[in-house]
Structure formats: C-alpha cells, structure tokens
Subunit: 136 residues, 2 copies
C-alpha cells in the first residue's frame, strides 16, 4: 500500500545513451512490492528526447502535459496531452518534446524478470483484461 | 502500436454490484495485443464510488482529476489530483469521489491470465523494474 503525490517521488536523471534532457520518477516499482509492472513518470525538457531504441518489453503510455513526437522506424507521429500510446515489444521508438514546455508522461513497463505473455492468441479469453468486462 | 486521445476510447458503464456513478475506458488492453497488463481510466461522478471489494490482482493508480477517499479495511485515506496509489493484491479497497467534480484516475491491472509474480523476494534483482536503473 502506497499513497503519495508524484512530486514526492525522487526525480532522477536518465543517463542512458541518447537521452537528452530527460528525468524519471519511479512512482511504483518492485521497491513497493508491486509484483508485475512498474509505473514511471518521465519529464522531458523542450528539445529533449528519450533514446531511439528497442527492447523486449512493451510500453503503455499516458501523456500528462506538453506535446511531442513519437518516432518509429520510418515514421513520426505527433502526440499531445491526454493521448494514450501503446508501443509493442521489439519496436524501435523514441519520445521527443516538440513543445516549449516540459513534457510529462506516464510509462508502464513489466518487470524484466516477470514471466511474459506475448500474443493475444495465447490468452484464455479472460473477459476482464480483454476489456469486455468492467472490473475495478 | 496505438496512439489515440483518451476521449476517443469508448466510455462504458461499470455495472459491478456496489459501483455507483462509475464509468470506465479501456485505454489499452488485450484487444490491442498488450501482452501483460491493461491501462484503464475511471470516471466517477460526485458521490459516486467503486465497489468495496478485494481480488487477487494489484492496482497501480494515478489520479488525473478531482479528489477522493481510498477506503481500506478500517481505514480511510484522502487523495487528490496527481497522487499515486498502490493497492496490494487481496486487500479490500474502494475509491470514493468526495469532491464536487468528476474524479478521473488511471488504474493499471495485470491480465487475469498472465503469469504472476507475488513477492519482491522472488525477483532476480533486475535493476530496471526495481527502479535502480533508468530504462526508457
């Protein structure tokens, strides 16, 4: 159990190669005993960006403030406040701030060591996660 | 890959027993081929609430608008915009709107049929999900 303002979670530099003007807050992670996935907030300065890279895990993103551009291989897509973005595993991607204010977004990732499911076809057809039931 | 405004995702009634004035948008789910977890937005009217219940999965929550009260067994905790809430699996919980405007929050849940990890102690100590590395 945890209840805090995001502002009370430590703001840390992102020192990954290719990242510019980008900081992160680990809002909920394995440190909180969260068993499956981590909720992070990124804060990207004007002209800042996350690295253009790919990895084995997906991103589920919610844009809180500002505007930007999602760069994919051979494609650029603008996004704005309150947009929702899903990036599949293994896809090259980058988030760029194209505005004049700090861009903030939430990004949820599975724990690296959590067992993964890859394909919808493998699912049991559970109505909850499929979005056909209304669990809370 | 998906990029939409939250407002373009269908707003559905929550018809679970005990829910009052509560609607849901399944922003990202298994319908989008997301392999591990679902990102939903709840919209709760003034005096509305989610059911007081427990279940085997955790909640990772980010409050977007409004104010409310997190009801736990024998305990009530107020929350407000931009608060972050983690609810462990198996804990009785309820989200109540205590304000005069619509309360909106994001709530991420694992797919019901996804393999689960229960305890931090079981982890491999991966630095990414633990929040000690700064992956994007």
């Amino acid at each position: 159990m945890k209840l805090v303002s995001f502002a009370d979670v430590k703001l840390e530099d992102v020192n990954v190669e290719g990242a510019v003007g980008t900081k992160i807050r680990w809002l909920i992670s394995q440190k909180d005993d969260a068993p499956n996935f981590a909720l992070r907030m990124f804060e990207v300065q004007p002209n800042g960006m996350t690295p253009f890279h790919s990895h084995a895990w997906e991103h589920e993103v919610f844009v809180l403030e500002g505007q930007g551009e999602l760069v994919l291989a051979g494609e650029k897509k603008p996004f704005k406040r309150y947009d929702v973005i899903y990036v599949d595993p293994e896809i090259f991607h980058q988030f760029k701030n194209t505005g004049e204010t700090v861009m903030k977004f939430l990004c949820i990732v599975p724990h690296e060591d959590a067992p993964k499911k890859k394909m919808r076809e493998e699912s049991s057809g559970n109505p909850f996660a499929a979005g056909t039931a209304n669990n809370c």
